[in-house]
Assembly symmetry: C2
């Protein structure tokens, strides 16, 4: 099976390369496995009118969050929200979660209670039940792994595949705010490390900082789509950045995408801060990640319903030009959208 | 919700105390949550003739395993087997797993492939599909979190509750071997650290060492019980040790248990090594843990079927003496069985 005994660094493959490589050694045996590796959630046929949906998301201290500026209550909320977001991306409804917690001995009961207070808030917000999990000591730091189970009507499921030429490319909410919030938090942390008497100044940045510390899963978008009578032809949530998710939709659907730069929805706070940090706001929107908005395609017939809805922005459309993902500027000039994603394993 | 702001050490509660404490702040909202926290797996009603079962198990390097003697392939197998064991404990059949992997940069692709080779072996053995997961870098060491989804016919489900007075207490396989295997491995590691030229000597200990490094989930027992036409009145898997699991069954069922010392099934290799290490073999069987055997109760009418089966040992019976768990020796003297479990959070 694995003959090559030389040492290959994980960073050479990246997360997606690694997952695809490992997945290639597995075959599904059970008829109930409708879809396994390769979408936002696994799809399970329990024999009823709905599919079961199953997903897991892990967060490690020092990699995914920094407790020096991330309150534990917000972190508990975020861990649930980001995992629930994967069920939303399938057009599904979450119902149960399991929380697996790794704790070093630096955490007290009171700290764990803060974390669970946030988990409970998220359970209430998304109407999910905490149905189990495990709690164990970890050699260092905090880790949170959240499993979410949910369901979706068989005729309403949205996969990454399914986008057709001419379909509209739509995104909910705004992009890049969570990334700019993180830049602010890291800057204030640095100031505080150098001058411990300085208080962190987050005034005027409440929205973007909140998007980083306490994002929401767009369950409301799933409900809105149902009310509008729209089943997207493909859907994904934006965790790694718009650019990366566009690549996923294109790759699974076998199409290309034209995206219009001026259409990218970016909050004024994020624009201002991007410029302050000498960053191009469009690049921040494309590659920032952690927005947990939904990116989806719909048939052109839904244009009026989508266009007039305040939660949605049509940012482009699918093309027959498979594998071509273009950002088109005001002048008509275009450049290729590269998928960055998170390169956790790099240096 | 959490007013007390003093610092309480997690070790003062222990794992079970912590879980019970946190669970008390949550209420189930969804009718599909048949059973949440407090059994081997969550029980989900998808509307069909079967319940869905969902469980998660995390393993951290330095806490649950030691890579200096645990081959990665065996570790991958063990992570799946121990999680699948929780589905077996509900009398269920596992169908899908998700694997969430945390990796520090000391791991190469080849190391990860070894791990997945073991995961694949376990997937084949238990007929489960690897249906997703995530892979991320961790700040230190390796962690593996395995989620398992499965199902069980509604009239065949076995919970921790349900044991009745006079029911027979039955265990599959043998007890204490995994613990004695670990003692051998740790002794040989110590010898090797002190004298690097010495080769570890595991000859004659193959069985008990194998029980530690590569345990199996007793899916075969679930099948045997079905063939014998037996639905246990209660069931649990032995991960923390027989003593601890007896307490769980008694607490959830509202009964006591009398256990006969001479009936405890202990492999001769484990007996020999327990004596070599100056340990009482019965204590090892009671508190060793990691056996992943099934402990269950059945009505007396099944006595003949159970008694004659080579996989099963009747070790005692349920009593009306709620909360009393007695080990009865040959002489008739008895002593209380204390639940040790794993005290991860202790010093």
């Amino acid at each position: 099976m694995f003959e090559n005994k030389e040492r290959t660094e994980l960073g050479d493959l990246g997360e997606f390369g690694l997952i695809n490589h490992l997945a290639s050694f597995f075959e599904n045996k059970n008829a109930s496995t409708v879809m396994g590796i390769g979408d936002d959630a696994a799809v399970i046929d329990n024999g009823g009118s709905d599919y079961g949906l199953l997903t897991v998301d892990a967060m490690f201290e020092g990699i995914h969050f920094d407790l020096s500026f991330h309150p534990l209550k917000h972190l508990g909320y975020k861990a649930v929200a980001t995992a629930v977001s994967d069920i939303c991306a399938m057009n599904g409804t979450p119902t149960q979660i399991l929380v697996s917690l790794g704790l070093s001995n630096r955490f007290s009961l009171e700290a764990v209670e803060e974390l669970y207070a946030g988990i409970r808030l998220a359970c209430d917000k998304y109407s999910v039940d905490l149905a189990g999990g495990d709690t164990t000591s970890s050699p260092r730091g905090l880790s949170l792994t959240v499993t979410v189970y949910g369901h979706v009507a068989k005729d309403k499921i949205c996969k990454r595949s399914g986008a057709q030429e001419h379909d509209l490319l739509v995104v909910s909410g705004d992009l890049g705010s969570a990334y700019m919030g993180l830049q602010i938090l890291e800057r204030e942390k640095k100031v505080f490390m150098e001058q411990p008497n300085m208080q962190p100044d987050l005034s005027g940045h409440e929205y973007i900082v909140g998007r980083q510390l306490r994002p929401d899963a767009r369950m409301d978008v799933v409900q809105t789509l149902a009310e509008l009578g729209i089943v997207p032809s493909s859907m994904i949530d934006i965790s790694d950045g718009l650019a990366s998710e566009i690549h996923h939709l294109g790759m699974h659907s076998g199409c290309g995408f034209d995206v219009y730069d001026e259409k990218l929805p970016i909050d004024p706070q994020a624009v201002t801060q991007a410029l302050n940090f000498d960053l191009n706001p469009s690049v921040v929107a494309l590659n920032g990640g952690e927005d947990y908005e939904l990116l989806f395609t719909v048939a052109q017939e839904h244009y009026d319903k989508i266009k007039s809805h305040p939660d949605f922005t049509i940012i482009g459309h699918a093309t027959a030009n498979k594998g071509a993902y273009r950002l088109i500027g005001k002048s008509g000039a275009s450049f290729d959208i590269k998928a960055q994603g998170w390169q956790h394993f790099k240096g």
